[in-house]
Amino acid sequence: MAEIYVIVGTGAAGMAAAERIRLYKKDATVIMMSIDEHSHSRCMLHKFLGGERTEEELSFVEPDFFEKNEIHWGKAQKALGLDIQNKRIQMENGYQPYDKLLIATGSVFGIPPINHFRTASNVYGFRDLSDAQKIDAAVKAKNAKHAFIVGSGLVGLDVATGLMERGVKVTIAEMAPRVMPLQTDDIAAKAYQERFEAHGARFLLGIGASDSIINDQNEITAVVLSTGETVACDFVICAAGVRPNIAWLEGSGLETERGIKVDGHMRTSAPDVYAAGDVTALAGVWPNAMDMGRVAASNMCGVDTEYTDRYCMKNTSNFFGLQMLTIGDINAQVEGADIYVKESRNCYKKAIVKDGVLKSVLIQGDISHTGHWQYLIKNEINLSEILKRKEIFDITYGDFFETDDIGEYQYKN
Protein backbone atom coordinates (compact mmCIF):
# COMPACT_ATOMS: atom_id res chain seq x y z
CA MET A 1 0.00 0.00 0.00
CA ALA A 2 1.14 3.48 -0.77
CA GLU A 3 2.46 5.47 2.17
CA ILE A 4 0.13 8.22 3.36
CA TYR A 5 1.57 11.70 3.75
CA VAL A 6 -0.75 14.16 5.44
CA ILE A 7 -0.18 17.91 5.55
CA VAL A 8 -2.38 20.10 7.72
CA GLY A 9 -2.37 23.65 6.37
CA THR A 10 -2.13 25.01 2.83
CA GLY A 11 -0.05 28.11 3.56
CA ALA A 12 3.56 28.74 2.53
CA ALA A 13 5.06 25.87 4.52
CA GLY A 14 2.39 23.32 3.64
CA MET A 15 2.38 24.02 -0.09
CA ALA A 16 6.18 24.07 -0.38
CA ALA A 17 6.26 20.75 1.47
CA ALA A 18 3.60 19.17 -0.75
CA GLU A 19 5.53 20.02 -3.89
CA ARG A 20 8.71 18.60 -2.41
CA ILE A 21 7.06 15.37 -1.23
CA ARG A 22 5.65 14.78 -4.70
CA LEU A 23 9.11 15.38 -6.18
CA TYR A 24 10.65 12.64 -4.02
CA LYS A 25 7.71 10.24 -3.69
CA LYS A 26 5.93 9.66 -6.97
CA ASP A 27 3.65 6.93 -5.61
CA ALA A 28 2.80 8.18 -2.13
CA THR A 29 -0.70 9.26 -1.24
CA VAL A 30 -0.56 12.96 -0.38
CA ILE A 31 -3.45 14.52 1.53
CA MET A 32 -3.76 18.18 2.47
CA MET A 33 -6.27 19.74 4.85
CA SER A 34 -7.17 23.41 5.19
CA ILE A 35 -9.82 25.42 6.98
CA ASP A 36 -10.12 27.75 3.99
CA GLU A 37 -11.72 26.81 0.69
CA HIS A 38 -9.09 28.61 -1.32
CA SER A 39 -5.37 28.12 -1.00
CA HIS A 40 -4.21 31.69 -0.75
CA SER A 41 -1.26 33.92 -0.06
CA ARG A 42 -2.05 35.76 3.14
CA CYS A 43 0.41 38.47 2.13
CA MET A 44 -2.11 39.50 -0.54
CA LEU A 45 -5.31 39.53 1.52
CA HIS A 46 -5.38 43.33 1.35
CA LYS A 47 -5.59 43.08 -2.43
CA PHE A 48 -8.75 41.02 -2.05
CA LEU A 49 -10.18 43.41 0.52
CA GLY A 50 -9.33 46.39 -1.68
CA GLY A 51 -11.12 44.78 -4.63
CA GLU A 52 -7.95 44.40 -6.68
CA ARG A 53 -8.00 40.59 -6.76
CA THR A 54 -10.56 37.80 -6.51
CA GLU A 55 -10.21 34.87 -4.11
CA GLU A 56 -8.78 32.78 -6.95
CA GLU A 57 -6.24 35.45 -7.76
CA LEU A 58 -4.79 35.21 -4.24
CA SER A 59 -3.46 31.74 -5.01
CA PHE A 60 0.31 31.39 -5.14
CA VAL A 61 0.24 28.12 -7.07
CA GLU A 62 -1.05 27.20 -10.51
CA PRO A 63 -4.81 26.50 -10.66
CA ASP A 64 -4.09 22.82 -11.42
CA PHE A 65 -1.57 22.40 -8.56
CA PHE A 66 -3.57 19.77 -6.70
CA GLU A 67 -4.57 17.78 -9.80
CA LYS A 68 -1.14 17.95 -11.37
CA ASN A 69 0.56 16.77 -8.19
CA GLU A 70 -2.22 14.27 -7.43
CA ILE A 71 -2.89 15.72 -4.02
CA HIS A 72 -6.18 15.08 -2.26
CA TRP A 73 -7.34 18.34 -0.76
CA GLY A 74 -9.81 18.41 2.10
CA LYS A 75 -11.16 21.95 2.00
CA ALA A 76 -12.95 23.67 4.86
CA GLN A 77 -11.67 21.01 7.25
CA LYS A 78 -10.66 21.96 10.73
CA ALA A 79 -8.13 19.79 12.56
CA LEU A 80 -9.44 19.00 16.03
CA GLY A 81 -6.80 16.77 17.55
CA LEU A 82 -3.81 14.51 17.10
CA ASP A 83 -3.71 10.85 18.13
CA ILE A 84 0.00 10.05 18.25
CA GLN A 85 -0.54 6.47 19.45
CA ASN A 86 -2.69 5.41 16.52
CA LYS A 87 -1.04 7.77 14.01
CA ARG A 88 -4.20 9.56 13.01
CA ILE A 89 -5.49 13.07 13.03
CA GLN A 90 -8.96 14.01 14.12
CA MET A 91 -10.80 16.18 11.63
CA GLU A 92 -14.33 17.55 11.86
CA ASN A 93 -15.64 14.70 9.70
CA GLY A 94 -13.67 11.83 11.22
CA TYR A 95 -10.17 10.45 11.57
CA GLN A 96 -7.45 10.62 8.94
CA PRO A 97 -4.62 8.09 9.38
CA TYR A 98 -1.06 9.02 8.39
CA ASP A 99 2.30 7.39 7.92
CA LYS A 100 4.00 10.79 7.94
CA LEU A 101 2.38 13.99 9.14
CA LEU A 102 3.34 17.62 8.65
CA ILE A 103 1.70 20.20 10.87
CA ALA A 104 1.72 23.57 9.14
CA THR A 105 -1.27 25.22 10.76
CA GLY A 106 0.32 28.65 10.94
CA SER A 107 -0.72 31.12 13.56
CA VAL A 108 -3.83 32.81 14.86
CA PHE A 109 -4.35 36.49 15.64
CA GLY A 110 -4.59 37.63 19.21
CA ILE A 111 -7.32 39.90 20.56
CA PRO A 112 -6.15 42.39 23.19
CA PRO A 113 -7.91 42.14 26.55
CA ILE A 114 -10.04 45.22 26.09
CA ASN A 115 -13.63 45.34 27.29
CA HIS A 116 -15.99 43.66 24.72
CA PHE A 117 -13.19 42.98 22.20
CA ARG A 118 -13.32 39.23 22.75
CA THR A 119 -17.09 38.93 22.85
CA ALA A 120 -18.46 41.52 20.40
CA SER A 121 -19.65 40.32 17.00
CA ASN A 122 -17.75 42.86 14.92
CA VAL A 123 -14.13 42.33 15.96
CA TYR A 124 -12.03 40.77 13.21
CA GLY A 125 -8.49 39.62 12.55
CA PHE A 126 -6.66 39.79 9.24
CA ARG A 127 -4.91 36.50 8.91
CA ASP A 128 -6.96 34.07 6.80
CA LEU A 129 -9.05 34.60 3.72
CA SER A 130 -12.10 34.01 5.91
CA ASP A 131 -11.09 37.05 7.98
CA ALA A 132 -10.87 39.19 4.85
CA GLN A 133 -14.23 37.83 3.67
CA LYS A 134 -15.84 38.73 6.99
CA ILE A 135 -14.49 42.28 6.79
CA ASP A 136 -15.61 42.52 3.17
CA ALA A 137 -19.11 41.41 4.18
CA ALA A 138 -19.16 43.85 7.10
CA VAL A 139 -18.19 46.75 4.84
CA LYS A 140 -20.93 45.84 2.37
CA ALA A 141 -23.68 45.05 4.87
CA LYS A 142 -23.27 48.20 6.90
CA ASN A 143 -21.97 50.47 4.17
CA ALA A 144 -19.17 50.96 6.67
CA LYS A 145 -17.46 54.30 6.79
CA HIS A 146 -15.06 53.91 9.66
CA ALA A 147 -12.82 51.11 10.91
CA PHE A 148 -10.73 51.02 14.05
CA ILE A 149 -7.46 49.09 13.63
CA VAL A 150 -5.35 47.97 16.58
CA GLY A 151 -1.70 47.73 15.56
CA SER A 152 0.30 49.48 12.83
CA GLY A 153 2.63 46.63 11.86
CA LEU A 154 2.68 45.27 8.32
CA VAL A 155 -0.68 43.54 8.82
CA GLY A 156 -2.32 46.64 10.28
CA LEU A 157 -1.08 48.81 7.44
CA ASP A 158 -2.03 46.18 4.86
CA VAL A 159 -5.60 46.02 6.07
CA ALA A 160 -5.68 49.82 6.27
CA THR A 161 -4.74 50.16 2.58
CA GLY A 162 -7.36 47.59 1.59
CA LEU A 163 -10.07 49.46 3.50
CA MET A 164 -8.98 52.90 2.31
CA GLU A 165 -9.20 51.57 -1.23
CA ARG A 166 -12.86 50.87 -0.46
CA GLY A 167 -13.46 54.34 0.88
CA VAL A 168 -13.49 53.28 4.54
CA LYS A 169 -11.83 55.74 6.85
CA VAL A 170 -9.34 54.12 9.20
CA THR A 171 -8.10 55.02 12.66
CA ILE A 172 -5.00 53.07 13.63
CA ALA A 173 -3.95 52.78 17.25
CA GLU A 174 -0.32 51.90 17.90
CA MET A 175 1.16 51.46 21.35
CA ALA A 176 4.66 52.30 20.09
CA PRO A 177 5.54 55.92 19.31
CA ARG A 178 5.82 55.28 15.54
CA VAL A 179 4.20 53.28 12.76
CA MET A 180 5.53 49.83 11.80
CA PRO A 181 7.70 49.95 14.92
CA LEU A 182 9.61 46.71 14.26
CA GLN A 183 10.76 47.74 10.81
CA THR A 184 11.20 51.50 11.05
CA ASP A 185 13.03 54.15 12.99
CA ASP A 186 11.41 57.54 13.61
CA ILE A 187 12.46 59.01 10.27
CA ALA A 188 11.36 56.08 8.13
CA ALA A 189 8.12 55.82 10.11
CA LYS A 190 7.32 59.48 9.51
CA ALA A 191 7.60 59.03 5.75
CA TYR A 192 5.01 56.24 5.82
CA GLN A 193 2.81 58.02 8.31
CA GLU A 194 2.63 61.11 6.10
CA ARG A 195 1.66 59.05 3.08
CA PHE A 196 -1.10 57.25 4.95
CA GLU A 197 -2.39 60.50 6.45
CA ALA A 198 -2.40 62.13 3.02
CA HIS A 199 -4.82 59.37 2.02
CA GLY A 200 -7.08 59.98 4.99
CA ALA A 201 -5.78 57.64 7.68
CA ARG A 202 -5.56 58.78 11.29
CA PHE A 203 -2.85 57.41 13.58
CA LEU A 204 -2.97 57.32 17.35
CA LEU A 205 0.65 56.76 18.33
CA GLY A 206 1.65 55.76 21.82
CA ILE A 207 -2.05 55.56 22.60
CA GLY A 208 -3.91 52.38 23.41
CA ALA A 209 -7.56 51.47 23.43
CA SER A 210 -8.83 51.08 26.99
CA ASP A 211 -12.52 50.38 26.64
CA SER A 212 -15.28 50.10 24.10
CA ILE A 213 -18.98 50.83 23.76
CA ILE A 214 -21.41 48.24 22.40
CA ASN A 215 -24.97 48.48 21.11
CA ASP A 216 -27.82 46.06 21.79
CA GLN A 217 -26.68 43.85 18.91
CA ASN A 218 -23.40 43.19 20.66
CA GLU A 219 -21.50 45.35 18.15
CA ILE A 220 -18.77 47.74 19.13
CA THR A 221 -19.83 51.22 18.03
CA ALA A 222 -16.95 53.15 19.54
CA VAL A 223 -13.55 52.58 21.07
CA VAL A 224 -12.49 54.52 24.13
CA LEU A 225 -8.82 55.52 24.15
CA SER A 226 -6.43 55.71 27.07
CA THR A 227 -6.68 59.49 26.70
CA GLY A 228 -10.42 59.35 27.32
CA GLU A 229 -11.32 60.24 23.75
CA THR A 230 -14.03 58.16 22.08
CA VAL A 231 -13.63 57.08 18.45
CA ALA A 232 -16.76 55.89 16.65
CA CYS A 233 -16.38 52.90 14.34
CA ASP A 234 -18.38 50.34 12.37
CA PHE A 235 -16.03 47.51 13.32
CA VAL A 236 -12.66 46.74 14.90
CA ILE A 237 -9.68 44.89 13.41
CA CYS A 238 -6.98 43.38 15.62
CA ALA A 239 -3.58 43.43 13.99
CA ALA A 240 -1.44 43.46 17.08
CA GLY A 241 0.36 40.17 16.85
CA VAL A 242 -0.20 36.48 16.24
CA ARG A 243 0.61 33.28 18.10
CA PRO A 244 1.21 29.75 16.83
CA ASN A 245 -1.97 27.82 16.13
CA ILE A 246 -1.42 24.97 18.58
CA ALA A 247 -4.50 25.08 20.82
CA TRP A 248 -5.99 22.10 18.93
CA LEU A 249 -3.00 19.96 19.95
CA GLU A 250 -3.71 20.30 23.64
CA GLY A 251 -3.78 16.92 25.34
CA SER A 252 -2.10 15.19 22.38
CA GLY A 253 1.17 14.85 24.22
CA LEU A 254 3.07 16.69 21.48
CA GLU A 255 5.78 18.84 23.04
CA THR A 256 5.17 22.55 22.62
CA GLU A 257 6.79 25.73 23.86
CA ARG A 258 5.59 28.97 22.32
CA GLY A 259 5.08 26.88 19.20
CA ILE A 260 5.55 23.21 18.39
CA LYS A 261 9.00 22.13 19.49
CA VAL A 262 11.10 20.88 16.54
CA ASP A 263 14.71 19.82 16.01
CA GLY A 264 16.95 20.95 13.14
CA HIS A 265 15.20 18.46 10.86
CA MET A 266 11.76 19.87 11.72
CA ARG A 267 10.91 16.68 13.62
CA THR A 268 8.54 17.05 16.57
CA SER A 269 8.58 14.97 19.75
CA ALA A 270 6.23 12.41 18.15
CA PRO A 271 7.44 9.78 15.67
CA ASP A 272 6.79 10.65 12.00
CA VAL A 273 5.26 13.99 12.95
CA TYR A 274 6.93 17.11 11.59
CA ALA A 275 6.09 20.80 11.88
CA ALA A 276 6.98 23.81 9.73
CA GLY A 277 6.20 27.50 9.37
CA ASP A 278 4.62 29.91 11.87
CA VAL A 279 3.37 27.03 14.03
CA THR A 280 6.96 26.40 15.18
CA ALA A 281 7.38 30.03 16.31
CA LEU A 282 10.85 29.95 14.72
CA ALA A 283 10.08 32.63 12.15
CA GLY A 284 7.08 34.54 10.89
CA VAL A 285 8.18 35.43 7.39
CA TRP A 286 7.28 33.80 4.08
CA PRO A 287 10.73 32.69 2.80
CA ASN A 288 11.51 30.89 6.07
CA ALA A 289 8.13 29.19 6.15
CA MET A 290 8.71 27.81 2.66
CA ASP A 291 12.22 26.73 3.61
CA MET A 292 10.99 24.93 6.71
CA GLY A 293 8.30 23.22 4.64
CA ARG A 294 10.85 21.95 2.13
CA VAL A 295 13.24 20.80 4.87
CA ALA A 296 10.47 18.93 6.70
CA ALA A 297 9.26 17.34 3.46
CA SER A 298 12.75 16.20 2.49
CA ASN A 299 13.23 14.52 5.86
CA MET A 300 9.76 12.97 5.70
CA CYS A 301 10.88 11.39 2.43
CA GLY A 302 14.12 10.12 3.95
CA VAL A 303 16.36 12.77 2.39
CA ASP A 304 18.46 14.09 5.26
CA THR A 305 18.17 17.90 5.30
CA GLU A 306 18.73 20.49 7.98
CA TYR A 307 17.06 23.87 8.50
CA THR A 308 20.08 26.15 8.68
CA ASP A 309 19.12 29.45 7.04
CA ARG A 310 17.27 30.66 10.11
CA TYR A 311 17.73 34.42 9.97
CA CYS A 312 14.27 35.97 10.10
CA MET A 313 14.47 39.62 11.18
CA LYS A 314 13.91 40.77 7.66
CA ASN A 315 11.14 42.39 5.73
CA THR A 316 10.22 44.55 2.80
CA SER A 317 7.25 46.86 2.49
CA ASN A 318 5.70 48.83 -0.31
CA PHE A 319 2.99 51.33 0.60
CA PHE A 320 1.82 54.21 -1.59
CA GLY A 321 4.84 53.77 -3.84
CA LEU A 322 7.37 54.01 -1.01
CA GLN A 323 9.52 50.92 -0.69
CA MET A 324 11.53 49.86 2.30
CA LEU A 325 13.85 47.03 3.27
CA THR A 326 14.80 46.36 6.88
CA ILE A 327 17.20 43.67 8.06
CA GLY A 328 17.85 43.31 11.78
CA ASP A 329 16.84 45.62 14.64
CA ILE A 330 17.34 49.12 13.32
CA ASN A 331 16.65 50.68 16.73
CA ALA A 332 19.09 48.47 18.63
CA GLN A 333 21.12 50.22 21.30
CA VAL A 334 24.49 48.62 20.59
CA GLU A 335 27.32 49.77 22.84
CA GLY A 336 30.22 51.16 20.85
CA ALA A 337 28.46 50.79 17.51
CA ASP A 338 28.88 53.11 14.55
CA ILE A 339 25.65 54.40 13.10
CA TYR A 340 25.67 55.44 9.48
CA VAL A 341 22.88 57.56 8.03
CA LYS A 342 22.42 58.87 4.52
CA GLU A 343 19.51 60.99 3.43
CA SER A 344 18.55 62.36 0.07
CA ARG A 345 15.28 63.65 -1.31
CA ASN A 346 14.06 60.19 -2.30
CA CYS A 347 16.03 57.85 -0.13
CA TYR A 348 16.81 57.27 3.53
CA LYS A 349 19.44 54.76 4.61
CA LYS A 350 20.65 53.71 8.01
CA ALA A 351 23.12 51.06 9.12
CA ILE A 352 24.41 49.95 12.51
CA VAL A 353 27.95 48.52 12.51
CA LYS A 354 29.78 47.05 15.47
CA ASP A 355 33.47 46.12 15.19
CA GLY A 356 33.20 46.07 11.41
CA VAL A 357 30.19 43.75 11.39
CA LEU A 358 26.85 45.02 10.13
CA LYS A 359 24.08 44.50 12.68
CA SER A 360 21.12 46.02 10.91
CA VAL A 361 20.25 48.09 7.88
CA LEU A 362 17.27 50.09 6.65
CA ILE A 363 16.85 51.31 3.09
CA GLN A 364 13.79 53.39 2.24
CA GLY A 365 13.22 54.68 -1.27
CA ASP A 366 14.91 52.80 -4.08
CA ILE A 367 15.62 49.27 -2.81
CA SER A 368 17.24 48.00 -6.03
CA HIS A 369 20.37 45.90 -5.48
CA THR A 370 19.89 45.46 -1.74
CA GLY A 371 19.87 41.66 -1.59
CA HIS A 372 23.44 41.48 -0.29
CA TRP A 373 22.55 43.17 3.01
CA GLN A 374 20.76 40.13 4.40
CA TYR A 375 23.74 37.93 3.48
CA LEU A 376 26.24 40.28 5.12
CA ILE A 377 24.22 40.57 8.32
CA LYS A 378 23.26 36.94 8.82
CA ASN A 379 26.75 35.68 8.02
CA GLU A 380 28.36 38.41 10.14
CA ILE A 381 30.81 39.32 7.39
CA ASN A 382 33.52 41.68 8.62
CA LEU A 383 33.47 44.84 6.50
CA SER A 384 36.38 46.69 8.17
CA GLU A 385 38.72 46.48 5.17
CA ILE A 386 36.07 47.53 2.65
CA LEU A 387 34.97 50.42 4.88
CA LYS A 388 38.50 51.86 4.67
CA ARG A 389 38.07 52.47 0.96
CA LYS A 390 34.40 53.13 0.45
CA GLU A 391 31.24 54.41 2.05
CA ILE A 392 29.06 51.72 3.61
CA PHE A 393 26.08 52.29 1.35
CA ASP A 394 28.32 51.92 -1.72
CA ILE A 395 29.04 48.30 -0.76
CA THR A 396 27.46 45.89 -3.23
CA TYR A 397 27.70 42.21 -4.01
CA GLY A 398 30.45 43.32 -6.41
CA ASP A 399 32.79 43.61 -3.42
CA PHE A 400 32.49 39.85 -2.95
CA PHE A 401 32.08 38.86 -6.61
CA GLU A 402 33.14 35.33 -7.54
CA THR A 403 31.74 32.62 -9.80
CA ASP A 404 32.02 28.87 -9.27
CA ASP A 405 32.71 26.25 -11.93
CA ILE A 406 29.09 26.08 -13.09
CA GLY A 407 28.85 29.84 -13.30
CA GLU A 408 26.83 30.49 -10.14
CA TYR A 409 27.72 33.51 -8.05
CA GLN A 410 29.19 33.00 -4.62
CA TYR A 411 30.75 35.18 -1.95
CA LYS A 412 34.52 35.53 -2.09
CA ASN A 413 36.14 35.13 1.32
Binding site: A12, S41, C43, M44, K47, S59, F60, V61, E62, V285, W286, P287, M290, D291, K314, N315, T316, N318, G321, Q323, L325, I327, D366, I367, S368, H369, T370, G371, H372, W373, Q374, Y375, R389, K390, T396, Y397, G398, F401, T403, I406, G407, E408, Y409, Y411
Partner: protein, 148 residues
Protein backbone atom coordinates in the same frame (compact mmCIF):
# COMPACT_ATOMS: atom_id res chain seq x y z
CA UNK B 1 20.19 24.03 -18.14
CA UNK B 2 21.57 26.86 -20.20
CA UNK B 3 23.39 29.56 -18.25
CA UNK B 4 25.03 32.82 -19.29
CA UNK B 5 28.62 32.28 -18.20
CA UNK B 6 30.79 35.23 -17.22
CA UNK B 7 34.49 36.00 -17.59
CA UNK B 8 34.93 39.38 -15.89
CA UNK B 9 38.52 39.67 -17.11
CA UNK B 10 37.24 40.01 -20.69
CA UNK B 11 34.61 42.66 -19.92
CA UNK B 12 35.61 46.20 -20.80
CA UNK B 13 32.41 47.80 -19.54
CA UNK B 14 30.98 48.88 -22.91
CA UNK B 15 27.44 48.05 -21.77
CA UNK B 16 26.37 46.78 -25.16
CA UNK B 17 24.73 43.99 -23.16
CA UNK B 18 22.60 46.52 -21.29
CA UNK B 19 21.47 48.17 -24.52
CA UNK B 20 20.68 44.80 -26.06
CA UNK B 21 18.65 43.88 -22.97
CA UNK B 22 16.70 47.13 -23.16
CA UNK B 23 16.09 46.63 -26.86
CA UNK B 24 14.96 43.06 -26.31
CA UNK B 25 12.43 44.14 -23.69
CA UNK B 26 11.10 47.31 -25.33
CA UNK B 27 7.35 47.58 -25.50
CA UNK B 28 6.93 49.72 -28.62
CA UNK B 29 7.37 46.88 -31.09
CA UNK B 30 10.50 48.30 -32.68
CA UNK B 31 13.97 46.87 -32.63
CA UNK B 32 17.53 48.11 -32.98
CA UNK B 33 19.29 50.63 -30.75
CA UNK B 34 18.93 53.37 -33.36
CA UNK B 35 15.22 53.65 -32.54
CA UNK B 36 15.49 52.68 -28.87
CA UNK B 37 14.36 55.28 -26.36
CA UNK B 38 17.03 55.04 -23.67
CA UNK B 39 15.07 57.07 -21.16
CA UNK B 40 11.83 55.08 -20.99
CA UNK B 41 11.58 53.52 -17.50
CA UNK B 42 9.85 50.40 -18.85
CA UNK B 43 12.79 49.49 -21.04
CA UNK B 44 15.31 49.48 -18.21
CA UNK B 45 18.05 46.84 -18.55
CA UNK B 46 17.85 43.69 -16.44
CA UNK B 47 21.63 43.35 -16.31
CA UNK B 48 24.27 45.63 -14.96
CA UNK B 49 28.03 46.16 -15.13
CA UNK B 50 29.73 47.12 -11.88
CA UNK B 51 33.08 48.81 -11.58
CA UNK B 52 35.41 46.60 -9.54
CA UNK B 53 37.37 49.59 -8.25
CA UNK B 54 40.60 48.26 -9.73
CA UNK B 55 40.07 49.27 -13.33
CA UNK B 56 38.01 46.20 -14.19
CA UNK B 57 34.35 45.37 -14.56
CA UNK B 58 31.93 42.90 -13.01
CA UNK B 59 29.04 41.73 -15.19
CA UNK B 60 25.93 41.20 -13.06
CA UNK B 61 23.55 38.79 -14.78
CA UNK B 62 20.84 36.63 -13.21
CA UNK B 63 22.27 33.14 -12.61
CA UNK B 64 18.89 31.38 -12.62
CA UNK B 65 20.34 29.71 -9.51
CA UNK B 66 19.92 26.02 -8.72
CA UNK B 67 18.48 27.15 -5.39
CA UNK B 68 16.85 30.45 -6.35
CA UNK B 69 16.53 32.74 -3.33
CA UNK B 70 14.12 34.96 -5.27
CA UNK B 71 11.62 32.24 -6.19
CA UNK B 72 11.96 30.65 -2.77
CA UNK B 73 10.73 33.86 -1.17
CA UNK B 74 7.91 34.63 -3.61
CA UNK B 75 4.53 34.85 -1.87
CA UNK B 76 2.44 35.25 -5.02
CA UNK B 77 3.78 32.41 -7.17
CA UNK B 78 4.99 34.95 -9.77
CA UNK B 79 8.57 33.68 -9.63
CA UNK B 80 9.12 30.02 -10.43
CA UNK B 81 11.99 27.85 -11.46
CA UNK B 82 10.94 26.13 -14.69
CA UNK B 83 11.83 22.47 -14.21
CA UNK B 84 12.38 21.95 -17.95
CA UNK B 85 14.57 24.93 -18.84
CA UNK B 86 15.97 25.46 -15.34
CA UNK B 87 15.30 29.17 -15.73
CA UNK B 88 13.60 31.27 -13.08
CA UNK B 89 10.63 32.81 -14.83
CA UNK B 90 8.52 35.75 -13.75
CA UNK B 91 4.80 36.17 -14.28
CA UNK B 92 4.14 39.87 -13.92
CA UNK B 93 0.36 39.35 -13.66
CA UNK B 94 0.69 37.28 -10.49
CA UNK B 95 3.25 39.55 -8.81
CA UNK B 96 2.10 41.29 -5.64
CA UNK B 97 5.02 43.77 -5.70
CA UNK B 98 6.06 42.87 -2.15
CA UNK B 99 9.75 42.80 -3.14
CA UNK B 100 10.72 39.92 -0.88
CA UNK B 101 12.67 38.59 -3.89
CA UNK B 102 14.70 41.80 -3.98
CA UNK B 103 15.64 41.17 -0.36
CA UNK B 104 16.23 37.45 -0.76
CA UNK B 105 18.57 37.35 -3.77
CA UNK B 106 22.03 37.43 -2.15
CA UNK B 107 23.43 38.98 -5.33
CA UNK B 108 20.94 41.82 -5.60
CA UNK B 109 19.71 40.94 -9.08
CA UNK B 110 15.90 41.36 -9.21
CA UNK B 111 14.93 45.00 -8.79
CA UNK B 112 11.69 46.95 -8.52
CA UNK B 113 10.49 48.57 -11.73
CA UNK B 114 10.68 52.35 -11.87
CA UNK B 115 6.96 52.66 -11.11
CA UNK B 116 7.22 50.19 -8.20
CA UNK B 117 4.45 47.90 -9.49
CA UNK B 118 6.54 44.88 -10.48
CA UNK B 119 10.11 43.64 -10.66
CA UNK B 120 12.63 43.40 -13.48
CA UNK B 121 14.74 40.33 -13.96
CA UNK B 122 16.32 38.29 -16.75
CA UNK B 123 13.85 36.08 -18.65
CA UNK B 124 16.51 34.56 -20.92
CA UNK B 125 14.84 36.59 -23.70
CA UNK B 126 11.89 34.21 -23.39
CA UNK B 127 13.96 31.27 -24.62
CA UNK B 128 14.17 32.70 -28.14
CA UNK B 129 16.05 30.25 -30.39
CA UNK B 130 19.00 32.56 -31.12
CA UNK B 131 19.73 32.91 -27.37
CA UNK B 132 19.75 35.97 -25.11
CA UNK B 133 20.27 39.36 -26.75
CA UNK B 134 23.00 40.42 -24.28
CA UNK B 135 25.24 37.51 -25.27
CA UNK B 136 24.86 38.25 -28.97
CA UNK B 137 25.77 41.88 -28.33
CA UNK B 138 28.97 41.31 -26.33
CA UNK B 139 31.96 42.20 -28.53
CA UNK B 140 34.45 40.60 -26.14
CA UNK B 141 32.84 37.22 -25.46
CA UNK B 142 32.90 38.08 -21.77
CA UNK B 143 29.47 36.43 -21.56
CA UNK B 144 28.41 33.27 -23.39
CA UNK B 145 25.79 30.58 -23.05
CA UNK B 146 26.80 27.17 -21.79
CA UNK B 147 24.89 24.02 -20.88
CA UNK B 148 25.63 23.38 -17.19
Amino acid sequence: MKRIMIDPSKCDGCKNCALACMDSHRMDGGNGVVTLNFTLPETEARNEILNDGKGGYLPMFCRHCSVPGCANSCMSGALKKDMETGHVMYDEKRCGACFMCVMNCPYGIPKPSADGTKILKCDFCNERPEGPACVAACPKQAIWVEEV
